[in-house]
């Protein structure tokens, strides 16, 4: 019914085939190489989550890393408890160093795997919901959303660093046990682990696509263009924005959980400002109008980083900054924008065109664009 829908589905299929078949084959099923790539995929997932709120709803969340970080700590807390089962009071080692006597109450539920998996999605979503209620009910828009989310990110990171007794502080949570899921032991350097991560990304993309292809996605695009007009049709704009913001946060939390499994530690740097702005850049490079493109953007930029940062150790951030400026100036819609413009140009050339100039001319009502009369 819709051309962009077709592009989305084809792009999605190709992307799934790429990460499921081509990538493992290209790396000769080598666990170490695939672990690196699994890391790119989790970053692709968080970029995709940002595209959902930024690209569709026009809500620029500069603090996307906050929900990502929350997800990662949730997973890390569970794994840390498993690793600390034999230590004093079942407490993580760093708590002993800071004279904590008993396991804090909020650590207790993370003994349960089910609770952990649910919390990894629900906690970021809940936090996002609280922010969303304040922001969107109050009709905060544009740059102010960016400032609020960024401020929240900074505050959250400060809390995690300063509460060393409970969070491991600057060191984060290290020395984690491997995850055990239905008797399967997650070994970050195995091919099966890579497939688990790829499967998660494909599932998350499908969920995201379902949301943006439903009427919700349409209303979000309408809100991005003219929120007031949408209100006059009876839609509660704040609720739609809240939904996009919370789904985005839950997906980012999911990506955060995977990230801990890939790197086998959690660190407050996951909530750092440079990391969060990096997500925005990946998303912009790929193209925020498409979830698949945003994910691909993250993978491409991080692969580049992997190659280039080994050559210019300190120069990478400079390169990233220049890349962002170039993208904003030359292709504000990212790689996806270049691609969709090219497709449109091809369609305009074909005679079966329904969208271009040919169709507009055919109407009897638009012989001459009428001049607006004076009152």
């Amino acid at each position: 019914m819709n051309t962009t829908f077709k592009t989305d589905i084809i792009g999605y299929g190709l992307f799934a085939a790429l990460i499921l078949f081509v990538v493992p084959w290209a790396f000769a099923f080598d666990g170490f190489e695939l672990n690196t790539f699994a890391r790119y995929l989790t970053l692709g997932m968080v970029a995709m989550a940002l595209a959902l709120s930024w690209g569709y709803a026009g809500v620029l969340n500069l603090g996307q890393a906050a929900t990502f970080g929350l997800g990662s700590y949730v997973m890390a807390m569970h794994l840390k408890l498993r690793a600390s089962a034999s230590s004093y009071n079942g407490m993580p080692d760093f708590m002993g160093w800071t004279n904590v006597e008993v396991l804090p109450w909020f650590w207790e539920p993370f003994h349960s795997l089910t609770f952990t998996l649910v919390a990894g999605l629900a906690l970021p979503a809940l936090v996002a919901w609280l922010m969303a209620v304040f922001m969107f009910r109050g009709r905060v828009t544009g740059v102010f959303v960016a400032i609020i989310t960024l401020a929240f990110l900074v505050a959250l990171q400060l809390v995690f660093i300063s509460e060393q007794r409970y969070t491991g502080g600057q060191n984060g949570l290290t020395g984690l046990a491997p995850l055990e899921l239905f008797g399967w032991r997650a070994d970050a350097y195995s091919t099966s682990f890579y497939y688990m991560v790829a499967g998660c990304l494909i599932t998350a993309l499908a969920l995201g696509l379902a949301v943006v292809r439903s009427k919700v996605g349409l209303i979000l695009r309408a809100i991005r263009e003219d929120a007031n007009r949408v209100r006059f049709f009876g839609y509660d704009v704040a609720r739609y924005e809240t939904l996009a913001f919370c789904v985005s946060a839950a997906l980012a939390g999911w990506a955060g959980m995977l990230y801990v499994l890939v790197l086998e530690f959690a660190s407050p740097t996951y909530m750092s400002v440079p990391f969060s702005l990096g997500i925005v850049i990946w998303c912009a490079v790929g193209g925020r109008e498409s979830l698949v493109a945003a994910a691909l953007g993250a993978v491409v930029v991080n692969m580049l980083e992997g190659r280039l940062s080994s050559i210019f150790v300190e120069g990478w951030f400079l390169f990233l900054g220049i890349l962002f400026i170039v993208v904003v100036l030359v292709m504000p819609r990212g790689l996806y924008g270049l691609f969709s413009d090219a497709v449109q140009r091809l369609q305009t050339v074909s005679p079966r065109d329904r969208g271009g100039k040919v169709a507009t001319k055919a109407t009897p009502l638009s012989a001459t664009p009428a001049v607006k009369e004076e009152n």
Binding site: L218, A222, R229, F232, F233, G234, R239, T360, T363, A370
Partner: protein
Amino acid sequence: MGHLELHNLQVQFGGLRAVDGLNLSLEQGELRCLLGPNGAGKSTTLDLICGKTAASGGSVIFGGIDVTHMAEYQRARHGIGRKFQVPSVFKDLSVIENLEVARSQHPGVLASLRVFRSRLSGRMDEVLTIVGLHDHLHVKAGNLSHGQTQWLEIAMLLMQDCKLILMDEPTAGMTVQETLKTADIFNSLRGSHTMLVVEHDMSFVRVIAEQVTVMDQGKLLAQGTVAEIERDPKVRQAYLGDEETADAAS
């Protein structure tokens, strides 16, 4: 009791009373034209009814319900629709997507999560036939001509199927032919929909209006048929300043 009633409606912007103690009553299915010189408070009155502007006094009763303190989207759910002076279609969305947004009988988030394609049958088909946009379903609204954009907006209003339609200069920028077609559409909506239309084009007003309300400086100046209004000396004074120029103009 009328379908829409305004009681002593007031709003102030700074020291200016844009609408000052306005009383108005519209019957179910009536088409009322709202006239008045520039700055008379016509558009502001529409803003007050649809909730774009909050009233500083008085009340808006619609269908027996006091909607004075409701948010825009709640009023829209009660059946108040608004067409703006500036064509305000969604330029980045295609014609059919615009109409799908306008099909807002189930505006909840959960209801929207379950809709994946636009049904072209039924109401959508009727509306497209009325406005003649069948061949442009997938054209981006930003690429339509001015006239077509106006049609799309009217189509969106029809799609929304609101009980009360508020229109601000619906024929602005239209050709004579398009204006006539618009008049036809309005006449066919009469009876099933209550309409309040702000319009300057008197030839158009003569075709569509039974009752006309004239405002001046935020107050109700006169009310009656087109012929009565045109004879009313107060109206001539308000529009043309003094009797002499009024005579010269007629």
